[in-house]
Amino acid sequence: MKRLNYPFSPEAVRELKVGDMVLISGKLFTGRDAVHKYLHDGNKSPVNLKNQIIYHCGPVTMKDKKTGKWTVTAAGPTTSIREEPYQWEVIRDHGIVGVIGKGGMGQKTLDACKEYGCVYLHAIGGAAQVLAEKIKSVDGLYLEEFGLPEAIWELTIEDFPVVVTMDAHGNSLHKEVENSSKEVLKAIL
């Protein structure tokens, strides 16, 4: 088990390799479909994403009626491939060093990871409770107008479990599994 601690950097994520199981501590920003399209359309990010990790997640959130404080009660990853048209650009223009999601991403993102020093970290899809437990505080809410699941949530995390499935050296577990299963498929059909 490896560790990735805040503050993050391109140098630190370049140390990670496909297959590494990693516990992340520090900070995350959620961002999914609406946020990626928004940034792709040339809008300014409401938060500085330089050297940050973006999490493809639309959490279940609850607001305490008395204190107005938010808690995240369920927070697993959403399917990342929908962001494939935008992700490389967000890595390039905003300097993010990590993308957490599920299902993996494509060649454009893999190339951007290599060029700019970024890594794709696979969280366990559907494990909304285990992952919500690792969120220690909600520190900010931006772009609320997209709806709560689609907004940017700034979160403090501790020992957030992920698996590196695309590293900054051009390797992708998703490509490997797809190729090997393709061979089996050919034999079966």
């Binding site: 959403t78 299902g103 699941p149």
Partner: protein
């Protein structure tokens, strides 16, 4: 995360023995409508936060088959922890609480519209309580009203049956697995799939291959052979109501179901697409007549977080029995 835990966790299997209703609610003697909403709310809560026993059993078996110290076994371990934690905290297994699909089986002379109104009220309440995420988006405007109500939401299907009681089944179908669900039109020349069961087998396996890890595998399939495009897709989804350990009454389909599971698990896609032994937990198939010109095969892919539950309501609209 500071939510108050329920004093006693209702266990779905032994529900008939243990009263599920909180004593306070019972003492109040709710009017029939409020009682129905309360029962439906409990159905939504249990569906969103607890995995049915048949699915849990299959998942735990799959977990034990993965090799130790692999990312696959790591994933299955987190899946197990998540199942336990969601139940303990009474919070959603998965943050994507999906399309809310009700199947209502009722005796003759039942008021469907009135019941649908109560379902809607229960859905709004479940959303306020965090059992459901604000998950319904207007496809034209992009607006999310935050209630899970809207054009076509929740999805409610009524069936008349010959029993005296009302049965309500609920499936929460997440978007990730819905996105890898698909429909083929046979013959399919790229796959060399003709209009027969051998062709059906090919397209189903192809669908599992194409899904890779994107549908939150290990997954479970509902399949319909035939029907028009709409009925075919709907009937495939309805197969998800079957228990994973049941047996198809049509022998050809029963053996095809088993063979597809075995074969798909040779693909090596594994949990989350990390590579591994279990790619598919189950495959449930049905058929519907078609017109001579069409031959559709529809595949509904369900993620490991297979959220399905059902209840029988008694005359007072309290939960008499859990179905899964």
């Amino acid at each position: 995360m500071t939510k108050k835990l329920p004093a006693k966790k209702p266990v779905s299997k032994s529900a008939s023995k243990k009263p599920i209703k909180k004593p306070i609610a019972k003492a109040k003697k709710l009017d029939p409508k409020t009682q129905t909403i309360e029962s439906l709310l409990e159905l939504i809560r249990v569906t969103s936060t607890e995995i049915p026993d048949d699915v849990a059993k299959t998942l735990m078996k799959a977990r034990s088959q993965e090799e130790q110290n692999t990312t696959a076994s790591y994933a299955m371990g987190i899946i197990k922890d998540n199942i336990d934690l969601a139940k303990f905290k009474s919070q959603p297994l998965c943050q994507d609480t999906g399309t809310v699909i009700f199947f209502v089986y009722h005796p003759p002379g039942f008021f469907q519209n009135a019941f649908k109104d109560l379902i809607k009220k229960a859905v709004v309440k479940a959303t306020q309580k965090g059992y459901l995420r604000q998950n319904s988006v207007n496809s034209l405007t992009g607006e999310n009203a935050g209630t899970n109500l809207g054009e076509g939401h929740p999805s409610v299907h009524f069936y008349e049956h010959n029993k005296k009681e009302v049965e309500v089944k609920l499936v929460l179908k997440g978007g990730g697995c819905e996105n890898v669900s698909t429909q083929y039109s046979l013959p399919d020349t790229t796959l060399g799939a003709g209009r027969d069961l051998a062709g059906v087998r090919k397209v189903v396996i192809d669908a599992v291959y194409k899904a890779q890890g994107k549908g939150c595998g290990p997954g479970a399939l509902g399949v319909c052979i035939g029907g028009d495009r709409a009925d075919s897709a709907y009937n495939a989804k309805k197969q998800l109501l079957r228990k994973l350990d049941d047996k198809n009454s049509i022998p050809e389909l029963a053996s095809l179901e088993n063979e597809i599971v075995e074969t798909c698990n040779k693909l090596g896609i594994g949990p989350m697409g990390f590579g591994g032994k279990t790619t598919l937990l189950s495959c449930k198939m049905t058929h519907a007549n078609r017109v001579p010109a069409s031959y559709f095969v529809s595949i509904s892919y369900m993620c490991w977080a297979f959220r399905r539950q059902g209840v029988v309501l008694d005359k007072k609209n309290t939960i008499k029995k859990w179905l899964y």
